[in-house]
Structures are given as C-alpha cells and as structure tokens.
C-alpha cells in the first residue's frame, strides 16, 4: 500500500509574472515537505518530475529539476507525461522497494508560452496532420465534440451545462482563477470559435505547481495518523494516429479499468463518492464520466442536467471547478485533480468541502493530439 502523506501546491493563476517556474516549484515543494513533516535531503528516496520539453522551452528540461526540490545527487527523474503518470511511477518505485518516500512534482508555466497553438501543433504527425488547413489545433477537439454530440444525441445546451456547473463550482475555490457566476444563456451566447465549440467551453491556460509526498504504508503510519491511500493507478495509451483512434476516450476507460481492478472497485458508479475528471474541453467531461463508468453511455448529459454531478448531487464531479474553472495546467492537470481529491478526503477543502466522502477518482488526459491518459483512485 502506498499513501499520500503530504501535498503542496502553488497557484493556480492565469499568469505569474512575479515568480519563475523554479520559484513556483520551490514554493509548492516546501509546502508539501512541511505538510509531510520531512526533510527532502535526508528522507526522500526518489523524486519524479512530470514535464514535456516543448512546454518548458528547454531541450533537456530534466537538467533544471533537482536544486529547487532539494533533490541534488538523489535519484531524480522525469516522466514525459501528466502528473498522474508520475504518481504511478512513484507508486511502482515504492512497491518495488526502491523507495520508502517518493516525491512527485508537476508544474505549468503556461503564461511563458507565447504561441501555445504552435507548440501543440508540433505534437502532430508532420505529414498527415500538422498543417491541415493551417488551422489552430483546437479544431481537432471540435471535430471530436461534433462526433460525440451526434453519437449521443446531445444538444449544445447539454455540453454548455458543464461550463455553468464548473465555473460556478470554482467560485468557492480560492485557487481557481477562472470561476464565474454564469448562466446557460451566457455560455450559449459565447462565440463559436471552433464550430460547434464555443469560447467558454475551452479551458484557458493557467500556471501552478503541485507536489505530492508518497510513502510506503509503514513509513506513512509513522508520519501521519490520517494518510490518504493510493488505492489504484492506471494509465493507458490507445494510439497516436487520428486515423486509428476510436474517439471514445478509450484511454480513460482502460486506465480506469486498471485502477479500479487494483482498488477492488467493481461498481464505480456506486463505490466512487466523487470524481475530478479532465474537462479541458467541456464535452470531455461528459465523455470522461462515461469512460470512468460513473454513468451509463447515454446518461451523463441527462444526469448532469438533473444536478446529479453538482456539488450537492449524488456524485459530485469537478467540485474544484475543473479545468474550466482552474485552467489548463498542461502536465500539472492531473496534479490539480489529485490534489482536490486528497484535500476533499482529508476534509481540508474549505468552503467547497463535501460531506462523507471516502473514495475519490482523479483522471487526466494527455491533451491534444494524444489518445493517452491516466487515472488514480484515492481512499481513506
């Protein structure tokens, strides 16, 4: 068993002109170490950073990690993936006896990126996809959204309700920069940037950093009386190509299956108390809710309209405000999800605290143009 014994975060903000990415990392790391009551130089056996070079603007970002984490001449590595992949890495290191205490870090300094669309474009196949019509890569998400709406017989309002729920949830989250008291009419009135996708249905970029301290069960019980357990982790890649993908969030379904099996969850819709899912495009929340088996294939939009996924609903989804409220945190997206789940389970979520929660799920997608993602199940 692996437990979360400390969490720390910095942000989240739409821009952070006063701090460099190193300072954001330092701030979050110090908070996490203090929370866990450890000294990184003495106690931590392994550090894992989640970063992609082109988001960071370095050719080898791994070089710049150790100092601000207190990881100099220590086992430190980078996984080129979302925070939840890093969590899985630390989980495996602890289970294989390589570490008793492992630290996972992911950050976003998206405000440093001047041409985000072009960076995403560089992830596309150079021959088949990269320069199709010179369009902004969000058009790929819009195409998928259209297909999803047709398959599930959804109206534009069905998708827009996700934005209304999440932006209003974010009002109670002090660290969510994009919270807003908006109505369905506001969302419907926002311009269609990528038909049928509206401006408000796209999560804006944000800065921030999340650091977790994980420990093996024996050490965790020494450090804290109330550890939050990592019950299961899963990650999955479907394919790279847009010509071979199923466009049904298979990555989330399979990753969740792996995590649920590890956690011993057979009926997620009943056993999971709340979830934080990737909603960097509003329709993705509905798609991911289905993939995580929290609702039936044709039910998610109807249940959303009925308030089933609201903060006071039967299965709250994205109480933190999700990415629509907190922002697109690049590789830290899963970090913000996992953080929210841990804070809720600990009862430290402040004004947005849910009552009687024991099991929560965090899910993230590796963003455009990938078909990969990870899931983590946390419990008390």
């Amino acid at each position: 068993m692996v437990a979360v014994v400390g969490v720390g975060y910095s942000g989240f903000n739409s821009t952070t002109p006063d701090l460099s990415w190193k300072e954001i990392m330092y701030e979050a790391a110090v908070r996490a170490y203090t929370d866990a009551g450890i000294n990184p130089r003495r106690d931590v056996d392994s550090f894992v950073t989640c970063a992609e070079d082109l988001y960071e603007g370095f050719a080898i970002f791994d070089e710049f990690v150790p100092d601000q984490l207190g990881a100099v001449v220590k086992p430190t590595c980078t996984v080129c993936a979302d925070f939840l992949y890093g969590l899985a890495t630390a989980y495996m290191q602890i289970r294989s006896g390589l570490a008793d205490i492992a630290v996972v870090e992911a950050h976003s300094k998206a405000s440093d990126i001047q041409t985000f669309g072009n960076v995403v474009k560089f992830a596309m196949d150079p021959i088949w996809l990269r320069n199709v019509g010179n369009a902004h890569p969000y058009y790929l998400a819009a195409l998928e959204m259209f297909q999803y709406m047709v398959e599930r017989c959804l109206s534009e309002e069905d998708v827009a309700r996700v934005v209304v729920k999440n932006k209003n949830n974010a009002l109670l989250n002090e660290s969510a920069p994009y919270g807003a008291n908006i109505t369905l009419e506001d969302v419907m009135a926002s311009p269609k940037l990528f038909d049928p996708m509206k401006k408000l249905e796209i999560a804006p970029l944000a800065d921030g950093c999340v650091v977790f301290v994980l420990a093996s069960d024996k050490v965790a019980r020494e450090l804290t009386d109330t550890p939050v357990w990592v019950k299961g982790v899963g990650w999955w890649s479907e394919t790279y190509g847009y010509d071979t993908a199923s466009f049904s969030a298979m990555y989330a379904y399979k990753a969740a299956k792996m995590a649920y099996r590890m956690a011993g969850i057979t009926n997620p819709a009943k056993e999971v108390d709340f979830a934080e899912v990737d909603d960097r495009f509003a329709f993705k929340e509905l798609q991911h809710i289905e993939a995580l088996q929290l609702a039936g294939k044709f039910d998610s939009a109807r249940l959303l309209a009925e308030g089933y996924f609201d903060r006071d609903g039967a299965l709250p989804v994205n109480v933190s405000g999700g990415n629509l409220g907190v922002g697109n945190l690049l590789e830290c997206t899963g970090g913000q999800k996992a953080l929210e789940v841990v804070l809720q389970l600990r009862g430290e979520a402040g004004r947005r605290q849910l009552s009687d929660v024991e099991t929560g799920v965090a899910q993230s997608w590796r963003y455009l143009p990938t078909h990969s993602g990870a899931v983590a199940v946390f419990g008390l």
């Binding site: 203090t34 009551g37 992609e52 070079d53 082109l54 603007g57 890495t89 289970r95 992830a123």
Partner: protein
C-alpha cells in the same frame, strides 16, 4: 515544523518479484534517412520479441526512452513513437533523463516488473538525430540556462573539453593514455554488426585528428547516429517458461546532480558514484573491482569511459588510464570494458545507446554476444549511462545467477 523521521532499516529493496531479461534487439546505428523513428522502434522491438520467443500481444506494458524532443522536432515525442514501439492499447510511459535515458529506461522497466504491476514489460529506446539541421549540436543550444549559460553560446563539445582537461590535470594523465580507449573501442566494434564507425586506428591517428575543442579531437568523440534498441523484462515465472538462462537484474541506481555544473569539481562524477552505490547495495556488491566481470560504462568521449570506471568503483581515482594501458579492459582482459565497441565504435544515438549498454550486457551475460563474447567466464556485469549537463548517472547491475 519538521518532524524527525527514523528510517526503517531492512524495509527497502523488498520488491514484489525478481526481474529477468529474456530478449534484446537493436537496429544498425547510422544516419537512417529512410526510416522514421517509429519504423526504427518497430525494427528493434521485432528483434527483441523474436529473441524472447513472444509476440507483441504478450507484452503487458511498454516503457519508452527517448532523449530531447528537439532532435525529431516533435512535441510529445513519446506519443508520436507510440504505435511503432508497440505501445498502442496498453499502458505506455516515456521516461527521460537526458543522455542517461539509455540505462534509465531499463531501470523504469525494472520497477514496472518488480512492483508486480506487469509480468512482461517491453523497454524501447529510440533516437533519430539526423533530422536536426545542420547538426544535432544545434538542438543542444536549448539545454542551457537562458540567463547564465546561453549568452556564452556554449556547446557540448567545449564543456566536455573543460571536463576532460580537468580530469587530465588532476590525475596528470596524458592524452595518449586516453586515446587508447578510442583505439580499443573502435577495434572492438569491428565485431559488432550494427557498428557505425568501427575501424582499426592507432593512438597517433587520434592525436592527429581534427581538433574540435582542445583537448578534444575528432576521434575522441562518438558520432551522432540514428537507431533504436529494445529489451524484454519479465517476472521469474515467465522467464522460466521462456528460457533456461535468463539474466537477472540485481541492482539499479540513478542520481541527478545540481544544475550548476560550473560549481562542481568536474574531475570525478560523484552522481555516477552515488548511483553505483545504490545499485551495488541492492546487488550485495561490496568490492566492484573484484565482483564485476564485465562492464559497459558510457563512453561518448574516450575520457568518459575512464571517468565512469572510476565513478563505478571499477578503478580508483586516476587509476582507470593505468588499467587501460595494461590491457585489463581489453576484451580478453581481466575486466573487459565496452566489449561491444561502445558509443565510440558502434555509434551514439543518445538514448538508443541502450543497445550497446544494457542490451550488450545482457548478451554478454547470456553468452549470446557471438564474436564479441569476452574471453573470461562472466557472472555479474554493470552498465551505466550519463547525461544532462554532466549531471546524471544511471547504473544497472545484472547477473546470470539469481
């Protein structure tokens, strides 16, 4: 408020299951304009699967190792390589520690299996440096601190020249002694079917070759290459079904030093020493010089092999050139070092150097190295890679006895 924590001794290194290597594959290292990175990965994976006697359907998880995205001009290169590397429809993760990835990817494969999450894990490393124009060095423009380093317009050859100079100065080593490594490795590579720059040269050839950034000369350096390599790592009960003589991973270690390479004494790679200490502790090795039978230290430059032998504890500080001069590190010597031909002879496709490090060590310990098989009887070996800003050491110890 920082609480005192007592480490619980004896808890560490209690893995769920042992890890064995049962198959390896690699492509020829050269400038490969005809193949994309995905095709290179495919070729290496195919060879490894055939050697192990399994198909891709048996593979449960895939680990990808690939160094800078800037080489291929891709963002999220791991995702791009996914289909070719056999990563589609299964858990797939890319790990990255710069040049050290060549041995770090198998370390990641190790914890996938040792943690019990996977019973059969495929490790793939791919690098395609030839896509960078005019030269892969141009990608290294972006590895420096933008404020303190970049204005000096450094490149990798010259910072390694600083390190080589420092190493030569501290131990009073002559360039002739260092050049012997290049002579040895390029000759060893003549027996490697994948070699890019194998040739029979002399110390004079090295000393008279074109100066790059003195003391580094053309033949002191490994070439940029394209290539891929793959390894199959499995749990004991699978290994038993597949082969009678698997090679066991007995220890892994890695360490990352500070970003500020200017603040370190470059004569000794303490990050390699730390990583080696971690790996040896797991493998119960107390005297590496005696207990290690064959070594594959990372040799992108000829002095680096010596440097890393000292970091790995295979030679005392300053002693590695003496061992080399005495022929101890030859293929028929007492401590065969880089019997594959290393990066100097076979080629240096950054992370795909796994092919001449981890894969070669597996082939040596499984007695499958063919003409490259070392003369002495081998039980235990060590392989190592190095990368970032002279900063990361990754070490793996293998043994053909469990």
């Amino acid at each position: 408020m920082v609480m005192e924590v007592e480490k619980i001794s004896g808890l560490k290194f209690h893995k769920k299951q042992d890890v064995a290597i049962v198959g390896a594959g690699m492509t020829t290292f050269k400038r490969r304009l005809n193949e994309t990175g995905r095709e290179l990965s495919y070729l290496a994976v195919k060879q490894a699967l055939e050697e192990a006697g399994i198909t891709i359907d048996n593979v449960e998880m895939v680990v990808m190792g690939s160094a800078p995205d800037t080489f291929d001009g891709f963002h999220m290169k791991g995702e791009y390589l996914l289909d070719g590397a056999g990563g589609s429809d299964r858990p797939y993760m890319r790990v990255f520690v710069g040049g050290g990835t060549g041995v770090f990817a198998p370390i990641a494969g190790y914890w996938h299996v040792a943690s019990g999450l996977a019973d059969i894990c495929l490790v793939v490393c791919e690098e395609k440096m030839s896509s960078t124009h005019p030269h892969p060095q141009s990608a290294f423009k972006y590895i420096w601190d933008p404020i303190l380093d970049r204005p000096l317009k450094p490149n990798l050859i010259w910072i390694f020249a600083l390190e080589m100079r420092r190493y030569m100065h501290v131990h009073n080593i002559k360039h002739e002694d260092i050049a012997l490594v290049s002579v040895k490795n390029k000759a060893n590579a003549l027996d490697h079917p994948c070699a890019q720059v194998a040739e029979r040269i002399t110390v004079e050839d090295v000393l008279n070759s074109e100066p790059m950034a003195l003391p580094v000369r053309r033949l002191d350096v490994s070439p940029p290459s394209d290539g891929a390599a793959a390894l199959i790592m499995v749990a004991p009960h699978i290994a038993r079904q597949l082969t009678d003589n698997p090679v066991w991973v007995t220890g892994v270690g890695w360490a990352l030093d500070t970003t500020w390479w200017t603040n370190r004494d470059l004569y000794f790679p303490r990050y390699v020493a730390e990583a080696a200490k971690m790996a040896y502790r797991q493998a119960h090795i107390t005297d590496p010089r005696k207990e290690i039978d064959v070594a594959e230290p990372y040799d992108p430059f000829d002095y680096k092999e010596l440097h890393h032998m000292e970091g790995l504890g295979l030679a005392k500080k300053g002693e590695a050139p003496i061992l080399t001069r005495e022929g101890v590190t030859q293929r028929d010597g007492d401590l065969p070092t880089c019997p594959s031909g290393g990066l100097l002879g076979v080629g240096n496709p950054i992370s795909a150097a796994m092919g001449v490090k981890a894969c070669e060590l597996y082939w040596q310990l499984a007695y499958r190295a063919g003409k490259r098989q070392v003369a002495k009887e081998v039980t235990t070996g060590v392989c190592q890679a190095w990368g970032d800003l002279m900063q990361v050491g990754t070490v793996m110890v293998m043994s053909n006895k469990r």
